[in-house]
């Protein structure tokens, strides 16, 4: 659609690569003005400014475009790219004379927000960050600064790639993206990321949670004369390592679903730790 326009009119308006790089850099500050009224509204407008400047020349057109992009917007920040790209492509088509209503640009934005946040949250906060952070933290616990560096570099490399290639993909394909999304690509990606995230989360529950119940169940003299002490924890570990951690995690899931805030739960567990260790149930 965009190319046809270019052939028809030599003087057509087109975003330069520099404009897109500018938008990409700006999109790193997507949430700077995060607010409870319109979340990323100002952020999206801020990202679009290079495009608006390039595409529109009259004050009326510019005003309309600015106001169009100051409406409610919210998506996982790393997935702003494709929406920005598509919006920029549509604005470009509109600026070249196509009969596109401002409102249809906005309804497209709104329509993309949900599906992209739906795939973005599990990928970024459920998979990428827990995995890179847990990996970094496990190295950091030995006092090695590489853990912090590894986390910072790997997370940001993926995030920046998603932003830039997302923007370019959205801009180049324009409305065709909607066709791509109509297939089940997004669903595949969401499910795949969720499976990976859940699998790793299962491992973390078992490996990185420490609960020890030192209550003594039996003391029996061993073959070499030493007394063998069996604690509740020994029995549980023989049964299934990490079973208490699993139970506690599932309990927390339940309580969170009842809208109890995470910080309240954290303090509750604090209390459990203090009382448990005083009574000698936990160590």
């Amino acid at each position: 659609m965009i190319k046809e326009n270019n052939n028809e009119k030599q003087i057509s308006k087109k975003l330069t690569k520099g404009d897109r790089v500018n938008m990409f850099i700006r999109s790193n500050l997507q949430q700077a003005s995060y607010n409870y009224e319109r979340i990323h509204a100002l952020g999206f407008c801020f990202d679009m400014i290079p495009a608006i400047k390039r595409l529109y020349t009259t004050k009326e057109e510019r005003r309309a475009a600015l106001k169009r992009h100051l409406v409610f917007f919210n998506v996982t920040p790393a997935l702003t790219g494709p929406i920005l790209g598509i919006t920029a492509a549509m604005e470009e088509t509109k600026a070249n004379g196509a009969a596109i209503e401002g409102s249809s640009i906005n309804s497209l934005k709104v329509g993309l927000m949900g599906p992209l946040a739906g795939v973005g949250d599990p990928i970024m906060w459920g998979t990428l960050r827990p995995i890179t952070a847990a990996l970094g933290a496990s190295i950091a616990l030995t006092g090695n600064v590489m853990g912090a560096i590894l986390f910072f570099v790997s997370f940001n490399a993926v995030r920046l790639a998603l932003l830039w290639f997302g923007l370019e993909y959205g801009y180049e394909k324009g409305l065709d993206v909607v066709k791509d999304l109509a297939g089940n690509a997004l669903q595949k990606l969401t499910e795949g990321a969720s499976i990976l995230g859940l699998f790793v989360m299962g491992a973390l529950v078992s490996k990185w949670t420490t609960i020890n119940v030192p209550l003594i169940v039996s003391k029996t003299p061993g073959p070499n004369g030493k007394v063998v002490i069996t604690t509740v924890q020994n029995i549980l570990d023989q049964l299934l390592p990490g079973i208490l951690a699993l139970g506690l995690t599932l309990l927390m899931c339940k309580l969170l679903k009842k809208k109890i805030s995470p910080i309240v739960l954290i303090f509750m567990l604090f209390a459990v730790g203090i009382i448990g260790s005083m009574l000698g149930i936990l160590k």
Binding site: N35, G43, F152, S194, L198, F199, L250, L255, F270
Partner: protein, 273 residues
């Protein structure tokens, strides 16, 4: 050791970066692993900073902002706890005990900051009416300063007034039974974070993958990289074999071929992640 002027200035700058990171949620400078490490570097005890950062990072693993819901604040918690632990020569456990109440306080502060940012949004509306691009840019970026200062001001006050004797005296007020209890609790407080992640992703029919990961981890010594690779392989195989993803337009056989090449390329990208 009381802090030198240069150290106080550097702490102020790092706190600003961390506070901005907490709202941007992009560069992750608000995460304990980064913030504690940087403060440790400034205070000349990188190792303690890194270890505390790693410990708090695991506790905060699932702290995330979804939509408009606000998680506990890792930025302020990381910075204040690292300063107190290093200056007062405290244990990592004491660091956790300091960090969690501060995370709750930081959460209140960031909610407040995100509320007053509404004013910047309204100012931008006005500048849009005047088509003043520069002013809109300034509105957006200036809002970042609120988030920077809501971490940097408390951190600045702490770093000006902190002294080892004071920290030790303050923490000595806490009975030992409480500190031991906190150390015990820090071993399993992580589960709150795990639960947050699980609730976000844990669609019921995908939960078996969680349990498989759990059991494999219980009986092997695989590290996280191994788990990442196995998890990715399982995800790819599941999607390839899942009848739900066969498109129905074509005959069954041509579909099988199409899907066997299709998902591969997509999921390769994911593997790189």
């Amino acid at each position: 050791m009381a802090l030198s002027v240069i150290q106080i200035i550097l702490i102020f700058i790092i706190s600003c970066i961390s506070g901005m990171g907490s709202v941007l949620d992009s560069f992750q400078t608000h995460r304990p692993l980064i913030a504690c490490t940087l403060i440790g570097l400034v205070l000349g005890d990188l190792k303690t900073g890194v270890i505390l950062g790693g410990t708090l990072e695991l506790i905060a693993l699932g702290w995330m902002n979804i939509g408009a819901a606000q998680s506990p604040d890792s930025a302020l918690a990381s910075i204040i706890s690292t300063i107190l632990v290093i200056v007062g020569h405290q244990s990592i456990a004491a660091g956790i005990a300091i960090a969690l109440p501060v995370a709750a306080a930081g959460q209140v502060l960031t909610v407040f900051a995100r509320t007053i940012t509404v004013a910047f949004q309204h100012a931008a509306d006005k500048y849009a009416e005047d088509v003043n691009f520069r002013a809109i840019d300034i509105c957006h970026v200036a809002a970042l300063a609120i988030q920077a200062l809501r971490v940097a001001i408390p951190a600045l006050l702490i770093s000006i007034f902190v002294n080892p004797a004071g920290v030790i005296a303050l923490l000595a007020l806490i009975p030992t039974s409480v500190t031991t209890g906190l150390t015990v609790a820090s071993g399993f407080i992580v589960v709150v974070g795990y639960a947050m992640v699980l609730n976000m992703m844990g669609v019921k029919y995908l939960m078996p993958f969680f349990y498989v990961g759990f059991v494999i981890a219980g009986f092997t010594t695989f590290n996280l990289v191994a788990f990442g690779i196995i998890g990715a392989v399982i995800a790819i195989v599941y999607i390839q074999l899942n009848p739900k993803f066969y498109t129905s337009k074509f005959g069954r056989e041509s579909n099988a071929m199409a899907t066997s090449s299709g998902p591969n390329t997509e999921l390769d990208d994911e593997l790189d992640d």
